[in-house]
Structure formats: C-alpha cells, structure tokens
C-alpha cells in the first residue's frame, strides 16, 4: 500500500532580514532593453512572511507598468528572491 507523508507542512526558517543584499528576478532596464533578470536590491522591511526590497533603478511589473518608488515585495519563501551573489553596486555620484 503506497503511503505519503502527513499533510502537515514543514515550518519554514526565516530567510531575509532588513539590510540584506538580495537579488530579485524582475523586469528592469539593461542598456536600452527591458529585461527580466536578477537585479540587486536591499531589503528595507521584512517579517516572517514578507520582504520589501528597494532598488536604485526603475523596476517594472510584468505588464509593463513602472513601480513608482522602486520597491518590490516578495514572500520570504518566493523563488524570485535570493541572497545576492555579487558585492554591493555603488551608485555613480554627480
């Protein structure tokens, strides 16, 4: 008789905290083109469920609308957010 495990789920560990440098899979500009790729940002708010990430360039929804304050939200367990693999990218001054 085939069995599968009980329907209770695992308790997810908390992943991201405020200040973490993260990459988010989102629509943004690369040169002259709009791309859907990983973009670096900083976690500006986080709880056990949600993360808010601030970017320093324009980001867009999948239907093309720009997100005004460059803040995207994601669930803590979303596969569209990960700890950044690159060092912090400094903004050009002036």
């Amino acid at each position: 008789m085939e069995k599968r495990q009980a329907t209770v789920g695992a308790v997810e560990a908390r992943h991201f905290q405020v200040g973490d440098l993260v990459d988010v899979l989102c629509d943004h500009n690369l040169g002259d083109q709009r791309v859907n790729d990983w973009l670096q940002g900083v976690v500006v708010q986080a709880d056990y469920k949600m993360v808010a990430v601030q970017f320093n360039q324009d980001v867009y929804l999948t239907d093309g609308w720009m997100v005004p304050d460059r803040v995207l939200w994601a669930r803590q367990d979303s596969d569209k957010i990960r700890l950044s693999v690159k060092r912090r990218i400094r903004r050009r001054k002036g």
Binding site: M1, R4, Q5, A6, T7, V8, G9, V11, E12, M50
Partner: protein
Amino acid sequence: MATRTVSRRGREVRRKGPVEFPFTEQDVRQISQRLQEPKWLAQRRMQAWEAFQAAPLPSVKEEAWRRTDLSGMPSDRFILAPADSLRVDPHLLEPLAAEQHGALLVLQPGAPPRLEGDPGPEDSGVVLADWATAVQRHPALLKKHLGTVVDHGEGKFAALAAALAEHGVLVHVPPGVQVGQPLHSVLWAPGGEKGFFSRVLVVVEAGATATYVHETASPTLGDNGAAADHPTMHAGTVEILLGEGAQLTFVELQNWGEHVWNFTHERARVGRSGVFNWIFGSVGSRLTKNFSELSLEGEGAEGRMSGFYFADGNQHLDHDTQQNHLAPHTTSDLLFKGALVERSRSVWQGMIYVAPGAQKTDGYQANRNLILSKQARADSIPGLEILADDVRCTHGATVSQLEEEPIFYLMSRGLPRREAEQLVVEGFFAPIMQRIPFEAVRQRLEAVIDRKLGGGV
C-alpha cells in the same frame, strides 16, 4: 411476422440502506479486559454498546444530519485493528513554542503510549495520562467525571466511541494549580480499513489554569483515488470540565488523512467565573461531523470558540456548534472561518441558546466562508433561541469569493497572482490564527493553507 428487439438497460444497483458496522459485543468485552477495567467501567461500556446498537445510523431526514449524507459510508470495512507502524510525523512532535516545551503524550493504536516531559511540578498533582494509565491509576477521577459531560446516549457515534475507545487522554489539573507549560497530546493513527475510537477527558478544577493542545492526525493513503479504496473511521468524544474560576485554553487540531470518516461529540461545561478559550483547526479527513457544545453553567462564565477549516478535493467538513448560556452574566464569542477549494463542501450550523433567567447574557456567533472554486460549496446556518428578556445576542454569516482589489494592490508590488491570492487567503484567516497561542502551530497551519491553495486557486 417481424419481431422487434427491445433492449433494456438494467438499473444501477444501489444499496438500499446503510451497511452494518462489523463490530461485536465481544470486541467491547475484549477491550475492557485488555485495559483491566473495573466492573463499573465495563458496565458503562456495555451500556454504550447497547445504545449504539439501538440507534439507527443518522440519515439526512434528521436536522443535524440534513447536509451530511452517510449513505455512501462503507461501514462494513472498518475493522478494529492496530494502526500501521508508520513513524509519527516529526512535525507533530516539535515543541509548541521555542521556550515552552511542556509534556507531550503520543498515542498510536497498537503501540505503547509515549509520555515525554513532566506535565507539572512533581507535587502539583497535574495528570496527563493515556487511557490505560488513567484506568489503572486514576479510576476515581474517571468514575466521577467520565460520561458526565458527553453521554453515550447523545448519538450513535458517541455511543460507539464510549463502547470501543481503547485510546484516549486524561488531563487533570488540581484546584488552584497554574500549569505554566502547555500540555500536548497527539493521536497518530495511520492505516486503511480500520476503525479508531478515542476519548478525551479534561478536568480543570477550581482556580486552576492550563493550556492543552490535542492533535489527531494520519497520513493520507496513496494518491489517485487510493484514499477511497481504504476507508477508515475515527469516532471520539471530548469532555471538558472547568471548575469555579478555572481557566483553560484548549487547541484542537484535526488533520486526518483524506480517507478517514471522522465523528466527534465534544462539550465543555464551564463553572462560575470560569474562562474557556476553545480553538479548532480542521483541515483533514474525507468527512468530518463534529458536534461542539459550550455550556456556560456558572454565573459570569466566559467562553470563546474559534474555528478554522480548509477543505479541498472531495472533503466534507461539518461543524455543529452550540453555545448554551445557562446562567446570568455569561459571555460567549464564536468565530468560525473556512475556505474551500475544488469540489469540497463545508457545513456550519450554530445555535446560541439562552436559558430562562440567564439575564445580562452576551452571545455572539459568526461564520465566514471563502469559496475559491466554482464547484465548492459552503452552508452556513446560524441560529438563536432566547428565553430571557435582558440579553444581547448577535450573529452573522457570509459566503464570499476572493476580492480582486487587494489582489491588484499586491500585484502592483510585483507579486505574482498566485502569491497575491495566497496572501489574501492567509489574511482572511489571520483573526483566527492570532488566537492560536503557538507560533509553531500557526506556521504549520499556514503551510497547510499554502499546500491546499497549490491545487486550488
């Protein structure tokens, strides 16, 4: 002369009536002998057995069962047998709260019960015991209280549980004792084509305080309809007594596999100035019929009932609640919230009863349902029966679908639709989740929501 050939299609053969259960009087006697029960308890079992035999299987002609049809229940396939030896889901054994790891009692029919930790300081007299231990060491408690809250005459399944229960939990908190750590018990009963029966008796004496979590669970058997091929049943009773000024938080989580037909009769009797906080979580089983009754018997008693249910597939969850105000200045507050996906169905039928003379009573009941699939259905039937003239009783019921506006706002922050919908559903349940005093339990339930939404929205 040419002859015409008339072909006739035979009618589908249908069962004419309910199928008999395979249990016998000999089963009742054997259970009683195995537990080495005293004569009075063995006699009570036999009385319950007689009540079970005398009662017909509930039918949709009865009001309480009008929306829950048992005619398809394969009663003849439920055999008294030990549970499979599958190890207990480790998530059920985790501490309820990081800094609060009280006593844990694990019951698995066919295996010795396991008690970890101490229910309270050694000299406090707090009892958290499995049924065999309760029968041997605490017969006076059982004799005094067992069956005084839920009588075996209340229904066929209450009688069946009283006659055949071999597993159960006794919780006793002596007068004035404050139990700091939560008490936790788990009934884990994996297996197909079996019948499991349990009893829970909780007695919190005058001035005592406790928190108790009771979980019933099993894994679903197989996929692709295999669950229907190996039906199993559970019938149980839960009896709760709160003395004068006692306080109890009771969290009850039902996560049976989706092959289990589950029936429970539960009642809490709250004494003068007692405070009872009752929290239900119901996410499992093929079919559940649950009778829960809160009886506020002493002046100034308070009770809160918070229910959470989430059904998917072909699940049918039926909760029948009753809030009895039997004394003046009593307060009850009921909130049941449920979500349904796929072809599942829920029934909530609630009643507030105010007895003559129970003046200055404040009773409230609300049932909110979220329908997430076209084929899902929720029936919500609130009711009031008031026989006093200076009371405040209100009720409400809603059945609704996901609103687009909050989903739009979440999507405007880059969340995919699916995640946005999950968040809105979690927000819908938040008022109930906040009443569960353990983070680990909340997160487990949220994980169940996520899993069920994975196949639903």
